[in-house]
């Protein structure tokens, strides 16, 4: 469903991403790995529309999306999380999820002002969806807390829930396990697999935690210094000489 072809991104004199290609099929978890500064997040930023790539094509469900504004890309069904959690800190947990459903609620101002039955119906549905996902990630009890006051692991889960209420086709997770303890990482692992299995969402993942990546990925793309290094199944990547060299060389 997602097909990235020869993606390049140049900042001034720096070629941050050079001819990277990758694809994500339906019902698949694909991971991008690579050393720090390899350009993984830049790839994400290009795909999600925050950066305009300087070269290459990005196809989503057959249509070219490179250079489209970020919010339009998200509306197509590609939603992402961020390396450093980005919540609406002063808003409550449930409000965070309601904001994300803005699109489903996109009725005109007047119908909201006079509370037409249609408006109430949509509002009720989005509340239901919010409470479903809060329950799913174990935050239902905290629904009216300020999001900024949650513990770090809870914030991570809220961010994923916030993506899921938009009912995406492709979920892009940028280092979701960063800063989590082993138990939380294991929960996350199960959550991601369940998103694929139970909710039919494809996942594109950037992650440093190798055990997580090897466990759940269907395929892996390795990037080093902005260039694609290898790609394949976890086993193939594990045995790839270039990958071993890059990782050992880095260590």
């Amino acid at each position: 469903m997602l097909d990235v072809q020869n993606l390049s991104m140049r900042f001034g004199g720096l070629l941050a991403v050079d001819q990277v290609s990758l694809d994500v099929q339906e019902h698949e978890i694909v991971s991008i790995i690579g050393p720090n500064g390899a350009g993984k997040t830049t790839v994400f930023n290009c795909i999600s529309g925050f950066y305009k790539p300087t070269g290459g094509k990005i196809l989503f469900e057959g249509g070219e999306v490179q250079g489209k504004p970020d919010y339009k890309i998200s509306r197509l069904g590609m939603v992402r999380t961020f390396q450093h959690v980005r919540l609406f800190g002063q808003m409550s947990v449930v409000e965070n999820l309601l904001v994300a459903q803005h699109r489903h609620l996109n009725t005109n101002l007047l119908s909201g002002l006079i509370k037409t039955p249609d408006f109430r119906e949509r509002e009720r549905k989005s509340l239901d969806r919010a409470s479903y996902w809060l329950d799913r990630v174990g935050l239902l009890e905290l629904a009216n807390r300020e999001a900024g006051n949650l513990a770090y692991g809870q914030q991570r889960r809220l961010e994923i829930a916030r993506c899921m209420v938009t009912e995406p086709k492709l979920l892009m997770l940028d280092e979701p396990a960063a800063g989590l303890n082993p138990a939380e990482t294991k929960d996350l692992n199960q959550l991601i697999v369940s998103l694929k299995e139970d909710y039919n969402v494809s996942v594109l993942l950037i992650e440093h935690d190798m055990s997580l990546v090897m466990d759940i990925s269907d395929r892996i793309t390795v990037i080093n210094q902005g260039r694609p290094l290898a790609s394949g199944t976890p086993d193939e990547v594990r045995q790839n000489d270039d990958v071993i060299k890059a990782y050992l060389g880095e260590a």
Binding site: R86, A143, C163
Partner: protein, 423 residues
């Protein structure tokens, strides 16, 4: 450490002297064509020295004073306290609000004309501040040219009445819509800018509009302004002694009571009250709608909001336009209340006062903004002898609020949303 502290304290005291003594300690006086310098009175100089000593002592014992202050209980409501039972709070709140509104409805019949006039002004400021609250408090867009939209509303009514004989009631929606249109047109290009640039660009717009009003003499009368703006009518009844327009009747004759100038003042007050309540209710409703949540989301984290499919321009523009709409609303009422308007009423200072109201009340908090509007307008009137110090105090209050209590005196409270348990 102690020696260091002493040095620092001495330095701070010295700086205090340097920045206050030359400016306060000497007075430039114009005598004919000459300027002379006179020393200030001994008491003034004493104050300067006292200030330096206070700064010195504060800096010297800073750590101790700060820790003592921190251990004091805070008398103001805490922003993050667990709220009391939700339905109970809502009930109390709605009773209190109803009480205030009823009181506000009957109050003008028992007080002097001057007080009612002042109260009308307070209501105008409430409308302005509620509108700006949408832009600054909710959407997080610092608009320093807000007064421009107020001016558009006021001038729309003034010009329409002068050239086309429009009445207040016809001009009210037109003034508000035209102000909103201005907001839309001006907002569209500038809302892409980052926060601080936006502030300065809106400030520039405000000034441009004022300068244009001042210089487009043929249309706006320039600095002389426009007079003879009609009062509102009540179902075709005028409040003047004599009827100005054909077909209208006069209020006191219709009801067979003696003419009194107070009728008009009270009527205007009531109009302003109703409009202010409408403004508050509409904005309150917006705050609980998707659009209101989108404003706040954009304020909290623009990048996250965009990643969830919110269009930055559309969301900001809606806040900007709605804010401008209510400024136009307030402007029309203001024009009608004054009967005369000139560019003098729409200087940057007005924008600053409205901003101060929003900041003091608590950005995003409607009740806070209303209380702050009342305080900011009435306090200088109560203490006339200190009215010169009004802006000085506002400025200082804005700084202190940002340093100590950026959420304002009455911080915004989040709406409690009851969720059903999933089966």
């Amino acid at each position: 450490m102690a020696a260091n502290n002493l040095k620092h304290a001495l330095f701070c005291a010295l700086v205090t002297l340097i920045i206050s003594y030359p400016i306060i300690g000497f007075n430039l006086e114009i005598q004919g064509i000459n300027i002379t310098l006179t020393g200030a009175t001994t008491s003034t100089i004493g104050m300067v020295l006292l200030a330096a000593v206070i700064v010195f002592l504060f800096q010297l014992f800073r750590d101790r004073i700060m820790s003592a202050l921190r251990s004091l209980p805070n008398p103001l409501p805490q922003p993050r306290k667990e709220p009391m039972a939700e339905n109970k709070r809502a009930r109390i709140e709605s009773w209190v609000l109803t009480g205030i509104v009823v009181l506000a409805l009957f109050w003008p019949f028992f007080v002097s004309r001057g007080s009612v006039d002042l109260a009308t002004l307070v209501l105008i400021y409430i409308m302005l501040a509620l509108g700006l609250n949408v832009v600054v408090g909710l959407a997080g867009l610092l608009d320093l040219g807000y007064v421009a939209f107020y001016a558009v509303g006021a001038y729309t009514f003034a010009l329409l009445s002068q050239y086309a004989g429009f009445s207040f009631w016809m001009a009210l929606p037109l003034g508000a819509c035209l102000a909103a249109l201005f907001g839309l047109v001006l907002g569209f290009p500038v809302l892409r800018l980052r926060g601080d640039y936006l502030a300065i660009v809106t400030l520039g717009f405000g000034e441009i509009i004022r300068i244009l009003l001042n210089n487009w003499t043929a249309l706006t009368g320039g600095p002389n302004g426009i007079g003879g703006i009609p009062d509102p009518t009540l179902f075709g009844m005028e409040f003047g002694r004599r009827v100005r327009e054909e077909g209208n009747t006069s209020f006191h004759e219709t009801f067979g009571i003696a003419y009194s100038g107070e009728h008009k003042v009270i009527f205007l007050y009531l109009i302003a009250l109703v409009l202010a309540i409408i403004t508050a209710l509409i904005i309150r409703r917006f705050m609980r709608m998707p659009v209101g949540r989108a404003w706040e989301a954009l304020r909290e984290d623009e990048i996250a909001a965009r990643s969830l499919g919110l269009s930055r321009t559309a969301v900001k523009l809606s806040a900007f336009t709605i804010g401008a709409f209510f400024a136009g609303f307030a402007g029309t009422v203001f024009a009608s209340k004054q009967g005369f308007i000139s560019p003098e009423s729409f200087v940057f200072l007005e924008s600053a006062i409205i901003l101060a109201i929003v900041v003091l009340g608590g950005m995003g908090s409607q009740l806070g903004v209303v209380l702050a509007a009342i305080a900011v307008t009435i306090l200088p009137e109560l203490a006339r002898e200190f009215s010169d110090y009004r802006m000085l105090v506002f400025g200082a209050a804005m700084v202190l609020m940002m340093v100590w209590r950026p959420q304002g005196l009455m911080p915004m409270r989040r709406v409690h949303i009851e969720l059903k348990k999933q089966e």
